[in-house]
Symmetry: C2
Subunit: 217 residues, 2 copies
């Protein structure tokens, strides 16, 4: 279908096409789809619900996103682009591993309870997604890979801390990283069940007490 002859636009970067222009805001529609998938999950969200929330007809949806799976994949990417920095922004630049982990957990507590839109669901879309268990292997790999990236980021930061002497060489870095990710994921579960920001922050502080006890803060 596409790429017949030399493509005038090598990618999607210049959206200035030739035919009738799109009548809806692609990003705004994607945001609405993201909210629906986020709240109800993949299987429980129907195309008619999506088109109603996005304010478009189903042919426009399929022309713009390809399929329901494609729309979910884009909604997931949209979610990560929009929220990942709020959780990992201070982690990256923190001077010590301990400060990085504390920033991660505290920023997670803040981001999970921050209301950016009135109909935003509670809990992280990546952490709570069950799309992999619903039979859609490819989408499941997307969310699992996103979750694995978090673990890797923490483990790499701890390895650096071990090399720099902040952590003892005998520290069990994978176990520490998994502990941090366990608490971070648990915060999403607590948020889904109605926990408030101070409650989440108290959990994060208790988790840091565990860090100090084991690592020696």
């Amino acid at each position: 279908m596409q790429n017949s002859g030399p493509a005038p636009s090598p990618g999607d970067l210049p959206p200035r096409g030739r035919g009738r222009p799109r009548a809806f805001d692609r990003d705004a529609a994607l945001t609405q789809a993201m909210h629906l998938f986020w709240r109800k999950g993949f299987a429980a969200t129907s195309i008619s619900e999506l088109t109603a929330a996005m304010g478009i007809g189903s042919p426009s949806l399929y022309a713009a996103f390809g399929s329901k799976e494609g729309l979910y994949a884009e909604a997931l990417r949209h979610y990560r682009e929009q929220y990942e920095a709020r959780v990992w922004g201070n982690f990256t630049g923190a001077p010590t591993a301990r400060a990085a982990v504390e920033a991660l957990l505290m920023d997670t507590a803040a981001a999970l309870t921050e209301v950016c839109a009135p109909d935003e669901p509670r809990g992280c879309m990546v952490t709570l997604s069950a799309v992999g268990s619903e039979g859609h292997t490819e989408l499941g790999e997307c969310v699992r890979a996103a979750r694995a990236r978090g673990f890797e980021a923490v483990a790499e930061r701890l390895s650096r801390a071990a090399a720099e002497g902040e952590l003892s060489a005998s520290a069990d870095i994978p176990a520490l990283a998994r502990y941090v990710m366990t608490v971070q994921g648990g915060l999403s579960l607590q948020t889904r069940d109605g926990a408030s920001r101070p409650e989440l922050e108290a959990v994060a502080q208790l988790a840091m007490a565990g860090w100090d006890a084991r690592v020696g803060g």
Copy 2:
């Protein structure tokens, strides 16, 4: 439909009826349904998948369980009856609050990675259930209530410990209980993503280090 005239059987306790006997094992069929709901969730599991796994026709399913929601509710009850004791059994009789919490987390790590059947899903069915977000409010209340019971059990045990002097009177019991439940829920997320029993136990031990640091173990 039912209860026309004085019921000869006041409940479902005597299954000895009058007509043609049921040709399938109700509990075995319920176990199969539980596995499917557990693995794929409510919305992504269809009646035809259920009847195929249970080895019965759809009229038998509806006669025995009423509806898809009713079947899920019974599967959830079946799950709790079968697995709750493995997680909370040692918690109840532990001599101290610390021992109770440690038993809870260590037994959770063990139960989550114990393979009782070859096709058992990974992670706790209650913790990972998203049925409440899929639009089924009543079932959502069931799983949320089950999760809340865990928090209450820990909080009550900690209150007793405070009354007995094990915990200082200034201890923030709800925060401690929420911390424990956060880690416990996080263990289910880790299990779903492939963590092993030793890995979960290492997380549990790190969480107990946090307990000791804050409570003074």
